[in-house]
Subunit: 195 residues, 2 copies
């Protein structure tokens, strides 16, 4: 995995542990695919599959539509997942901040044409999103006739990760806001602690 700290201003928040990135990419249900339409960005939420051995994000979708058409014109893409843990409250308003982990995968999109690879990916997506639901594995024959509800053939794309960056901001879990928490209460607590 090409995990880089390049372009991260706050080096203290850069994630250098690939296991944190793997966890985020394997446990997130939804990621945000960024594409470019001329000079206009396009961001679409998608279910996805992270393939550990290939360093690739797999997605699927209809062969028609804006996403498919943009990917065929301009394959450079970014895929972002994040997990928000909550807001860290602070008696000083400027220090109120968010606790989160985020991962950005930069790379190129390619269409998967190979039937066996398509079958493997669709099978793995079913195992991720409806684990244990199907009693039998998908057959390539089934995938061949895999027609979506929209009557548009299902395509599978891979985003090969050229570079991954990740950030984590988890300075102080004990300051996470909950309904009813107040500045007055926190200041009193601090005063006690310092006495």
């Amino acid at each position: 995995m090409n995990l880089s700290e390049m372009n991260i201003r706050r080096r203290d928040m850069a994630v250098s542990d690939p296991a944190v990135v793997e966890h985020m990419l394997l446990s997130s249900r939804v990621g945000y695919l960024g594409l470019v339409d001329g000079d206009v960005p396009y961001v679409v939420p998608l279910n996805f599959l992270w393939h550990r051995n290939r360093d690739a994000i797999y997605i699927h979708g209809a062969q028609d539509g804006r996403k498919a058409s943009l990917m065929s014109i301009q394959p450079k893409a970014t895929f972002t997942v994040s997990q928000e843990l909550g807001t860290m409250a602070n008696p000083i308003p400027a220090k109120t901040d968010t606790a989160y982990t985020s991962v950005m995968v930069f790379g190129r999109i390619s269409l998967i044409e190979d039937l066996d690879e398509k079958t493997e990916i669709l099978e793995a997506m079913l195992a991720k999103y409806v684990p244990g639901y199907y009693s039998r594995p998908l057959s390539p024959q089934h995938v061949m006739s895999y027609i979506s509800n929209a009557k548009s053939s299902v395509r599978v794309w891979a985003l090969s990760a050229d570079q991954i960056t990740a950030k984590r901001h988890e300075e102080s879990m004990s300051t996470l806001f909950y309904p009813g928490r107040t500045q007055v209460q926190d200041v009193l607590q601090q005063t006690k602690g310092n006495a």
Copy 2:
């Protein structure tokens, strides 16, 4: 609100009710800002504020860093929020699908320089993310000296919504997958229903 169905392939999923969009934009804690860096998309998760009367997304952040620099060069931006309700299982693998609502806001980013507007926005963000925490409102004087933990001045930007598109896929809540649900069980159920 300029809510459009343009570019939505699946017209049956297009949201035409502005109240659904308002709900999504006001209740979501995190949105994904899409920017363009040359021909490479950049997607960053952010806390944000939707301002109903101005049809604008407000965000804040450090004056330095990649996001701030990209926005100053190329103001065209997209902001996406989504809510995933779960996966709808179907005995036919190709019909397994996701239930979700998503909103995309397309527009232009501008830097907010006016101190009163900045104060109003930062105040409203605190009210959204740590409601009831502070006993007194922010003063413009406080905002003037508002320095983040990173020692970089806090900036506020507005993304004015030129166009909004929204999609909703909620065909069949009764088919939502849960651990232990199986194809066999669903087929039996269908057979009973048809008997």
